[in-house]
Amino acid sequence: MIEGIRLAGIVAFIAFGLFFTFVSTLGVIRLPDVFSRAHTASQADTLGAGFALAGVALALGWGATTFKTVLLLVFIFITNPTAAHAIARAADEKGIEPWTVDDEQTDVDLYRASNASVVADGGSSDESDDASEGGEQE
């Protein structure tokens, strides 16, 4: 009885961990921007790793190994969002502009903007989005 509940708990924890890690992987691969990727990597991946390590801690039972697993879980919960924050802040200080809905920047545009040493004229193409339709014709 107790063993069945424990097994169900382990399976549920690991399944939740797999689900959230899958969401994180999908987000890092599919999202358009380094900032949104940092966001999904800091939240969904931390939750996925936390659930999976909780399942491992439940599977190991009482002992020193469980203490190590809980230590690992706490460490990942603290450091993973911190690392994602540092990476996002480094991207901001590098001059990478965040992706918004208005300007249709794709991965290629972000790549070109990141290769330029000084991103000076990033806003010139953006503000001409609304005016270019009527402005160039006249």
Partner: protein, 96 residues
């Protein structure tokens, strides 16, 4: 003493480790084709977290508790790698 129809805990851990490994390999796409350096660092960071989880699951699946020490050291080095690269790719970066 396999509780439910021959499914044991090490088998579950091994299957979960394989699935986590598939997700970690999928992260190589962003690490290789990331447009910016920060994308690559982020992908390698997430990949390292997945590796830590895989090591912890393998320590259950293969019944080797020493793999947890490896996972602990890997998590420490992973965090240090992410901080160091994000600090040194920016000039006078005050990240964190």
């Amino acid at each position: 003493m396999s509780p439910i129809s021959g499914v044991s805990i090490p088998d579950i851990a091994l299957v979960a480790a394989a699935l986590f490994l598939v997700l970690a390999v999928a992260m190589f796409y962003r690490a290789i084709r990331g447009p910016t350096t920060q994308d690559r660092v982020l992908a390698v960071n997430v990949l390292g977290t997945n590796t830590v989880v895989v090591l912890a699951l393998l320590s259950v699946g293969l019944d080797e508790p020493s793999l947890l020490d490896v996972a602990l050291i890997y998590a420490l080095l992973n965090f240090l790698m992410a901080l160091a690269i994000s600090k040194f790719t920016v000039e006078r970066g005050g990240v964190l």
